[in-house]
Amino acid sequence: MTSVVRRAVQRSAMFVAALALVAVIWETYKALGPEEGGQLLGIRILPRTSEYAMPHVWDMFSRFGRPEVRGSARTVFDAVLAGAWYSFRLSVAGFVFGAVIGVGLAVLMARFKWVQRGVLPYLVVSQTVPLIALAPLIVSWGGKLEIGAFVWPRWMSVSVLGAFLAFFPIAVGTLRGLAAAPAASVELMQSYAASWTKTLFKLRFPTAVPYMVPAFRLGASASVIGVVVAEISTGLRGGIGRLIIEYAREATGDPAKVYTAIFGAAALGLVMAGAVVAVDVVVMRNRPKEAVV
């Protein structure tokens, strides 16, 4: 367990160091780069370093502590936190939905080769559809859904878009994991006359775990991206996506503000992926300590 802790500390240290490096590069360029950007043959090839284009890193962070609008008691930090919490819940809903669909599809594809041949190409194609184009469609379809007293709320459309991005890596990774059971182990289960379902739960899923964890981690961050982009393109209120557009509109007067919302979105993705990694550590604690994937 101590080695696990040591590795976690090392990784966190590397993470902080990498972040600090980005900040240093940002500030160095801001200090040395041309104020109005560099132009070559009338095309700007170097970004401007003015206060409006590149606010100081410390301005971005200090903006968290100041009021969201002049005279308000609510700080930007409170607003970003509330937005991130709202988007987090939508992302979790999207992730769970995407995981159910993804694992379900993977099981069907592993069970029936014809499903795999028929469905897998469409899964790949589905990921090439731009989310921005899809978001208004899903919202308008959702708006038409009415089952008895149930009215499809707008946030659910946003979660569905998160699920739309999350299910793909989960389906592909789980499928790969389910197919990874060694031939001898499959024969062993056959020799016990174990049914396909028994083999699935006693052999294939446990074998798939090391493949599923990275897939779920990708799915978790994909869900956050889906939700944030869908919030932006549908204009759903309450989430971090909405804050990003609102703050971006104020960029001319308050350039540091939009970065607070961007940091919020990034932190959200990290929290989601981190939760999956935590589950991984618990689930894999008794497995041999070697990389499988």
Binding site: E187, Q190, P288
Partner: protein, 266 residues
């Protein structure tokens, strides 16, 4: 009574295609209850295929396989045999005890019965203190003993083994051969054993079945007259070397006079 009966069995892979393989051609073999029979031959002679036909992991193209008087398919459904492979193939995510309990779980035994049987099997393979370890914490020889314990957990009358000691070093291998004989004597299990090693086949078996490839067929059956009690001294007895010579002769299709004794036992 006959434990395994193979009658005029042929197996063709990819029949009618350009890559057609005649894995087995007109094979007949009877294994008596309590008998230890080894299948030996070069790669591609169909010895693993024959074992898989007995296990009903493959269906014969023609001919008939019966196990304990039942069809091979029924015997598999009834779990009348246990199986062990070259790789121990223990499940990494289960403790040693849970690995041994796997076939019992699939038979629907309750927890107490399973636990009692796992204790018994751990005693049998002389690893009682390792029940709560995980397989990857054990040496290769220990893992293979657990695999044998798993194969025998449901007390099947027949044990099918596909080069189970092939991945072990020489010392561990000879030790495991002794262990296997002790376990079989204690349980009265019939064994069909696939191997590449002539001394291993002779040391373990009542009969060694020599096979040859293209197409896979039985060319010779060597009776080993070493008696029931076998120990390390057995390996130095004249009868041991005579049986080795007979098997090698069968494998090479060569007269015994051309084969030097003891210079190439492996």
């Amino acid at each position: 009574m006959t434990a395994v009966s193979v009658r005029n069995v042929s197996k063709v892979f990819n029949q009618g295609k350009p890559n057609q393989v005649d894995a087995l051609s007109n094979v007949a073999l009877d294994v008596k209850q309590g008998e230890f029979v080894s299948l030996i031959g070069p790669s591609g002679c169909g010895k693993s295929t024959l074992l898989r036909l007995v296990a009903n992991l493959l269906e014969p193209t023609s001919g008939e396989v019966t196990v304990n008087g039942k069809t091979a398919a029924q015997a598999r459904l009834d779990q009348d045999y246990g199986m062990a492979f070259q790789q121990a193939g223990l499940f990494d995510w289960r403790t040693v005890r849970k690995n041994i309990e796997l076939p019992l779980e699939l038979k629907g035994w309750d927890k107490q019965q399973r636990s009692a049987r796992a204790d018994e099997m751990l005693q049998l393979v002389q690893l009682p203190e390792f029940g709560d370890h995980y397989p990857w914490q054990l040496s290769g020889g220990m893992q293979q003993r657990i695999a044998i314990a798993r194969a025998l957990a449901a007390h099947p009358p027949l044990l099918l083994m596909d080069e189970p000691f092939g991945a072990l070093d020489e010392m561990t291998r000879e030790y495991m051969q002794g262990e296997l004989l002790r376990i079989c004597a204690a349980t009265g299990t019939t064994v069909v054993f696939v191997t590449h090693s002539i001394p291993e086949a002779v040391y373990l078996s009542n009969r060694v079945v020599v096979m040859s490839p293209r197409p896979g067929r039985i060319t010779k059956v060597v009776d080993v007259s070493l008696g029931g009690e076998r120990n390390e001294d057995t390996r130095n007895r004249t009868a041991f070397f005579e049986a080795i010579t007979a098997v090698r002769e069968g494998l090479r299709g060569m007269h015994a006079a051309h084969v030097g004794l003891g210079n190439d036992d492996r």
